[in-house]
């Protein structure tokens, strides 16, 4: 067969069989709904996406390495910025890990303050989800309802810590004394700002109100239900196999909450429930987060009622050196399980700090869960997993 004839044949073949090459769609890294710089490479046929590959690392800041050349008090300023939506909650497991190695008993009042502020961080993080998720489905108004109440919570966080997003408030052995505590010679340590508890109770009432409001505005909407029910089903086995944690796995029906399992903060002293979803679809993930806001508000109200008096700081050496050893402390962050594996060689900074973040493990499910679904559903599912790119790349 000479070449011309072969060429001719191939031309005939082309004209007979209509070729439909795959179209590759790059979703991100600059896209309104990827929550930052996540990039998805999807092969699409019409509106259906196949073979979705997430590309991460656009925001890698090298916190694990940076931690190795910093002292313990400096590191809290860094790890605030991992999951910036709930900056305060990031500090807790690290500080608890260091305290565990140093065998420090943290005063109960400091533990309560940590708990209250962690739950506030959870509420603000979930309210961000409540704001952005309807927006991804096209409804703009719930955004303002949710952010308005989040502002109250952030104001409270600010009044205590001085920071809205990056509080940098925890110290090894307790929490930072409030502003104006004076020099170390004057041991008079100021407490929480005046009126904090009444304002907190007031704000929690408002947060519970906005939950009602969101329930009627969003959950009472047939279109919202049609867009979320049965979409992005995540069976519990698959979720567990991929290491999905937090509200995402609870929505799949797994009753697993580190706050109930571990004792990094005194959660066992309060009366609260772990909300669990039924089907593991987008709707359940939305509902679980809404219920968690209510539970957190209830925890805060109980903690405010029962907060003991006492010092905010345990006695710690002036130069903090963690004894040789290693430990892993995990905590239930708003996005899921966050853990620090801390290895110390006895120096003033960690020898190695491995950070396990929730969003990183949560988005590992993306290629599985996005296989063969429509592009609008990609956005709906991605939004319902509620990840933050800083938490993915760190």
């Amino acid at each position: 067969m000479d070449q011309d004839f072969a060429h001719h044949l191939s031309e005939v073949a082309v004209s007979v069989e209509l070729e439909t090459p795959d179209m590759t769609l790059n979703i991100g890294p600059q896209h309104p709904s990827t929550h930052g710089v996540l990039r998805l490479i999807a092969k699409i046929a019409g509106e259906r996406a196949f073979d979705v590959k997430p590309v991460i690392g656009y925001m890698h800041r090298g916190y694990e390495k940076l931690s190795e050349v910093r002292t313990y008090p400096q590191i809290t300023a860094l790890i605030n910025r991992i999951d910036w939506v709930s900056g305060y909650a990031n500090e807790i497991p690290f500080i608890v890990a260091a305290e565990k190695l140093m065998e420090i008993e943290v005063p109960e009042r400091a533990q309560y303050i940590r708990l209250i502020l962690t739950e506030m961080a959870r509420i603000s993080s979930h309210l961000i989800f409540m704001a952005s998720y309807p927006l991804e489905l096209g409804a703009a108004t719930p955004l303002f309802f949710a952010l308005r109440e989040r502002e109250r919570v952030l104001d409270l966080l600010e009044s205590v810590t001085g920071g809205r997003f990056h509080p940098n408030f925890n110290r090894i052995g307790g929490v930072k004394p409030a502003v104006g505590s004076g020099s170390t010679t004057r041991k008079q340590i100021q407490d929480l700002p005046a009126g904090f508890f009444t304002q907190t109770k007031d704000a929690m009432g408002k947060v519970l109100d906005v939950c009602e409001e969101l329930e009627t505005l969003v959950a009472g909407n047939e279109i919202f239900l049609a867009r979320t029910k049965g979409i992005g089903l995540l069976p519990p086995e698959v979720a567990a196999a991929y290491g999905v944690s937090g509200p995402n796995i609870r929505a799949s029906g797994v009753k697993f909450d580190i706050r109930k399992v571990e004792s990094y903060l005194p959660y066992d002293q309060f009366d609260w429930e772990v909300p669990v979803g039924e089907n593991g679809d987008c709707w359940d993930r939305w509902w679980v987060r809404l219920t968690e806001i209510r539970q957190s508000a209830s925890i805060i109200q109980q903690a405010v009622d029962g907060i003991p008096s006492g010092p905010l700081q345990a006695k710690v050496p002036k130069v903090i050196k963690v004894p040789e050893g290693q430990t892993y402390v995990r905590a239930e962050n708003p996005k899921g399980e966050m853990g620090y594996y801390l290895v110390s060689d006895g120096g003033s900074g960690p020898y190695r700090l491995k950070i396990r973040t929730a969003s990183f493990s949560n988005i590992s499910i993306l290629p599985w869960i996005l296989e063969g679904i429509l592009i609008p559903d990609i956005i709906a599912v991605m939004g319902s997993l509620d990840f933050v790119l800083g938490d993915v790349d760190r």
Binding site: P32, A226, D377, I378
Partner: protein, 335 residues
């Protein structure tokens, strides 16, 4: 009117120029008023203030400032774009909107051209803008634009039939296709057709929302999915054309709905001699109510999926509209 003026306006070119000037001022004006209303109403619904500083009071000049801004922007055309198609798409979209104004009766005799097939013309011409949207999506050389354009074309299949079928009920009741004829039939009957055509009116409004690609049917734009859909690559002046067309189209679709179902320029109890002057005001008032409803929907509802719109249209709207036609026809024959 004096003899001179009558002669002057009888001249084809003069009257054409007058009409063109009227259209050229009216459409941007309507677009701006509705656009401003949308800004302020959405702000109210979201506990915001909205535009505040432009123009000194209530930010009334915000959209003028925006318009000027669009004029100043660089006219960007993507390198791989199909330039002639890319450039003509916004014009086609705006033309589709402008041409709709021809058959809207603003008062007794106040109509640009009282076509005997007025509503037929309106429904036909309103589909032209979809071609413009498809052209915009295709020529942009952008995958998101392409998907937006194709979604608009797919959407056409869903809403076009319910839109036409919903109109038929009113047409049967009026016994004419002429827009002013339909209003006159309502005046003669003494009630607006919506009283007997509630179903038709509802279907028409749903289909009109889909035609306008407004939330809950804004899939061709869908900011959170397709960035900006077929508008992604448009900027400056050309974007302004789409923007104006959207709001002017809101006006025309509302005006058609008002004419067909809500009695057009007529209110019960107002004599015809007054209607000549009050007609436009009444019509615009009714249009404002419908536009408000559209804005209200937009800031309340999430977005459907394209396949859910098809389900809604083919499984619900079309059968209901057909049943509505049959029932209307039976009543027309019997009574």
């Amino acid at each position: 009117m004096t003899g001179f003026a009558t002669d002057l306006f009888a001249n084809f070119w003069v009257s054409l120029a007058a009409k063109l000037a009227l259209v050229a001022t009216m459409i941007p004006l309507i677009g701006m008023v509705i656009g401003f209303a949308e800004m302020k109403l959405s702000a109210k619904m979201q506990s915001r203030i909205g535009p505040y500083f432009a123009g000194g009071r209530w930010g009334w000049a915000q959209l003028i400032a925006d318009g000027v801004k669009f004029f100043q922007k660089e006219d960007l055309i993507p390198e791989d774009a199909d330039r002639p198609v890319f450039k003509s798409a916004p014009i086609l979209v705006l033309v589709g909107t402008v041409a709709l104004f021809v058959v809207i009766p603003f008062g007794p005799g106040l109509i640009f051209r009282d076509l005997s097939v007025g509503i037929f013309y309106a429904l036909a011409i309103s589909s032209i803008s979809t071609i413009g949207v498809l052209m915009a999506g295709w020529s942009s050389a952008n995958k998101y634009s392409l998907m937006g354009g194709l979604r608009a074309a797919g959407q056409l299949i869903a809403y076009e039939l319910p839109l036409v079928l919903a109109v038929v009920g009113s047409v049967i009741m009026a016994g004419t296709l002429s827009m002013s004829g339909i209003v006159e039939a309502q005046i003669a009957a003494g009630y607006p057709f919506v009283i007997l055509q509630v179903v038709g009116f509802a279907i028409f409004m749903i289909a009109a929302l889909a035609e306008l690609t407004r939330i809950p049917f804004d899939m061709p734009i869908a900011e959170s999915e397709l960035v900006m859909g077929y508008l992604t690559e448009y900027s400056g002046f050309r974007f302004l054309f789409f923007f104006l067309a959207e709001f002017a189209n809101m006006f025309t679709m509302s005006a058609i709905a008002v004419t067909l179902f809500l009695g057009g320029y007529w209110l019960p109890g107002i004599p015809e001699s007054v209607l000549v002057f009050a007609g436009p005001v009444i019509l615009i008032g009714k249009v404002a109510i419908l536009s408000f409803v559209m804005i209200w929907f937009r800031w309340t509802f999430p977005r459907f999926r394209e396949d859910q719109l098809q389900t809604l249209a083919w499984k619900w709207l079309i059968p209901i509209a057909l049943a509505n036609i049959v029932i209307t026809a039976i009543f027309k024959v019997l009574f």
